[in-house]
Amino acid sequence: MTAARGTRFRTYSLLGLFVFLRPVGNLSLAWGTKHFPQELSLNPVVYLRAMVDPFVALGIAMLILSLLTRLALLSLADLSFVLPVTAIGYVLAALFGQMFLHEAVNAQQWMGTALIFMGTGLVGSTKQNTTPTGKGSA
């Protein structure tokens, strides 16, 4: 495997992991906060109480892991590449909203989903990194 292909493979592995972790983390967070009995206000105590809810805590853990994955991803690829390609997570968020939180997804939103797929495909076919990268270590 050439160095360029190896980097591309690592980039897409990280993308796959991030695209899984982010929407699942968001779903868990949404589920936990929606079932939390108090309204989240500017009071930090209420936030701290919400954060010990198991679904909120799981959501936070997955989002922290997704943040670290994204940092590693940004060490390999441009921000203007990562942003559109990871937008596939928005589609998953809409799907999860429909499946688990019983939120309605209409025809307009399915059209939005199709556009995201097309845009993601187009950006995914461009060079992932167009700026100099530091040496670092993997």
């Binding site: 967070l29 940004l74 060490s75 441009d78 590449f81 942003l83 559109p84 187009l122 167009t130 700026t131």
Partner: protein, 119 residues
């Protein structure tokens, strides 16, 4: 209130992403194995731009938590992607990334899709 929360999410996210991308490109290739994760956590603790990016991210996160409680997830997540256009422009201007025709068109298609999803 929802638009104020959304503005906080968008601005803080854009700032955080620009700082992260700048710093991670300087750091070089990183991985997410056990050692890689430990190295990333250590980097977050010592690099000023990453610390600042995490502060912005935390602000965005708490605003998002309040937003997602009051609004449907299928609104909150796509609407917060308004940061997308701001970030792509900043990536070109600040980070000097080459946003060519294909990448630009793809980004616009994704933005259109996100807007349609947001209702």
């Amino acid at each position: 209130m929802k638009w104020i929360l959304l503005s906080i999410v968008v601005t803080a996210t854009a700032l955080s992403d620009i700082l992260q991308s700048h710093e991670m490109k300087r750091a070089g290739e990183q991985s997410v194995g056990a050692r890689g994760l430990a190295r990333l956590l250590k980097m977050i603790a010592v690099r000023r731009d990453l610390i600042l990016s995490i502060v912005c991210l935390a602000l965005s996160f708490f605003a998002f938590m309040a937003l997602v409680q009051a609004e449907p997830l299928s609104f909150a997540v796509p609407a917060s992607a308004a940061s997308f256009i701001l970030e792509t422009a900043l990536a070109k201007v600040v980070l000097k990334e080459k946003v060519g025709v294909r990448r630009g068109t793809g980004a616009l298609l994704v933005l259109g899709g996100v807007m349609l999803l947001a209702r």
